[in-house]
Subunit: 452 residues, 2 copies
Amino acid sequence: MPDPVPDNAVPQNPVPQNPVLFNAVDLIRAKRDGLRLTDAQIRWLITAYAGGPAGGQLPDEQMSALLMAIYFRGLDRAELRTWTAAMVDSGERLDLSGAGRPTVDKHSTGGVGDKVSLILAPLVASCGAAVPQLSGRGLGHTGGTLDKLESIPGYRTALSPGEMLAVLRQAGCVICAAGPGLAPADRQLYALRDVTGTVESIPLIASSIMSKKIAEGTAALVLDVKVGSGAFMRDVADARRLAQTMMALGEEHGVSTSAVLTSMDTPLGRCVGNALEVEEAVATLAGDGPPDLVEVVLALAAEMLRLAGIDADPAAALADGRALATYRTMVAAQGGDPDAPLPQAAARRLVPAPESGWLGRLDARVVGEAAWRLGAGRARKEDPVSAAAGVRCLAKPGEQVTRGQPVLELLADDEARFGRALEALAGGIEVSPGPPPAAGSLVIEYPICDNG
Amino acid sequence: MPDPVPDNAVPQNPVPQNPVLFNAVDLIRAKRDGLRLTDAQIRWLITAYAGGPAGGQLPDEQMSALLMAIYFRGLDRAELRTWTAAMVDSGERLDLSGAGRPTVDKHSTGGVGDKVSLILAPLVASCGAAVPQLSGRGLGHTGGTLDKLESIPGYRTALSPGEMLAVLRQAGCVICAAGPGLAPADRQLYALRDVTGTVESIPLIASSIMSKKIAEGTAALVLDVKVGSGAFMRDVADARRLAQTMMALGEEHGVSTSAVLTSMDTPLGRCVGNALEVEEAVATLAGDGPPDLVEVVLALAAEMLRLAGIDADPAAALADGRALATYRTMVAAQGGDPDAPLPQAAARRLVPAPESGWLGRLDARVVGEAAWRLGAGRARKEDPVSAAAGVRCLAKPGEQVTRGQPVLELLADDEARFGRALEALAGGIEVSPGPPPAAGSLVIEYPICDNG
């Protein structure tokens, strides 16, 4: 956080000498008509919107029109670099040199059952890196890492930069919320995009993610870009384009960045829900994880260690208990009790296989939606989430099932939740008469940074 | 205006039983993605935005994102019909059956020196029609009819519906402001479009113009769609598309509508400015108008009389003083003194021809911009305008000039205005060594209504 200004100090005034440098309508029209915005224009727009001494000149209705024009016209590489830099410069940039080890972080674009961060951060830290993982909360059908960790009694996600650095030095990793001082322009822009139908724009997504990661001060970053029915990106070409856009932004801002595209057509692991995913993450840290989850974790860990310049075997760190020990240190350092029992659901309901055969499809989006309706997720930012609610996948695609055998276990705080969750599941479970083709690797590709 | 609700009355509640019928973000995304909005969705959007008992659910930032999506995706014929109908239904629709004659109105998309309404309304009324001309104020380089008439001492433009009908019955024509009860949704939407770069959209322009004209209750309407440097539409294809869109909307709402495309590359007549244009309009009504202005007035008058089913010769009504007498009756009925001297400018400046030859180009936009900077127009809706400021064109394209001979007379309330007006004129006046090709008719075409 910035130091408060002492009473007798004269704050520097960044307002340009001529306060009427640009006209917002001219700039909206320029972008609308496909013209390039200059660096000075972009910096003015972000500053005028996101506050600060020169801010407040650009109201929401002008920014939302601009965002929709950007949705249609895009931002070219130079525009996007400046747009992102202006978002970073709207707040502070953390200095993690005090961590004493190479820093490397991971970002996931979000999936169903995606508890990878809970495992990956302690795993990579246990191999010698420092992992400053600033995470978010869930909105919609994908869960949020902070919501999951908050199901651990006592776990604190709101840390000051000083506390964050202290946990990082002690445990080698920290998983907490991005403080209000990091890229505050992104917070404001994201809230506006959320209500104006302007979320789904690759440059806006890329600048939102990367501004936070650049401000957090990590030296390296691995992006887990999910592709499939349960992911934000439905096809590989879009996911690759998003990955390459973010990689270029990272490199331009001095963050060594690589990406992995991974498949998100069915839930990752067997558990979807906050406490349920913590439970599965702990099992995985103890060497007893489901194979799909372990595959993704090890692929990302290898990439993070490569960027951090550390030669270590992450599979060994899972097997020998080092990763789990690091996790327990981190949880305790953030106020949580790693031995405390997790919240249990008051209501349970089994979903049987509709016929006998092989489970062909267990759609990630459908399961995510069901977990959301059971209470694991929120519709609006202000909503609380249930720690115990969620879905346990008792069978996964490729497994044989007999008619009536339970394939899903639904968990909720309240029986009343089951009706709408069952509705959401309609059509998401398919049983085929023969075995489906063997599932391949979940790792789709490692996109090459397009430095063009 | 609607009657006020008596204290003991129970107002009807138009709120749907289920108040959460639609989600604004879903509708913005649907339009953004090129999907059709249904009638119910469009009606919900306009009602939610424009107030009334069910209103206020759609804030400016959501509507401006939707407007930008409409800018890119358009509205199809059915969407536009409903959008316009919802705007009409946001207020009252006047009943002009009490006028006792066929009603016919004219709308111009705006040009420089466009004082046509001041002549046309009394001219067509003097031929037997009733002309209920609801007009607007100028914004930017084109003047507004109400601003011009308000340079007449005493002239009132704010009339209640009852007063409007009384003037219409007495004089056969009325030129006043659209009251707050007519298409209030348009007022709100236009103010938002103005600050969000979403003015330049054919469906949004068409719905804005036509919602007001439909609500005003006229049975017939002639559209003067201007094309050229001084007009909103720069090319004939766009102007034709706008004309056809408005004609279809008029017919769909029971208003017999036709259009004339007219040229707007140089100012119409010789005067640009409020009192200056009233002066030129009176001269034209007295049979002494400049030929270009008279041509446009007679073409539009013929079209209006045709739609009204009246067989009369408007040229005769100009020549024999009937039109002027009607004008004087209307001005007096609206509180103005037709014999009062008009405001005179305190400062004058002559602009000489830069060389000898023929005046080849006298650019409408440039002259409009100069008049605007002299004080005849406003930058913001709240700004006052000068009655006396403006530009008198002492020479028009095609006329021979000698170096140093004055071609323009600039008029302002204050010498300080001349500097920026002269800057605006740079490049707008061209003298050629030989005579330019003879100017053709200002009437470009009569578009055919596209009922497809």
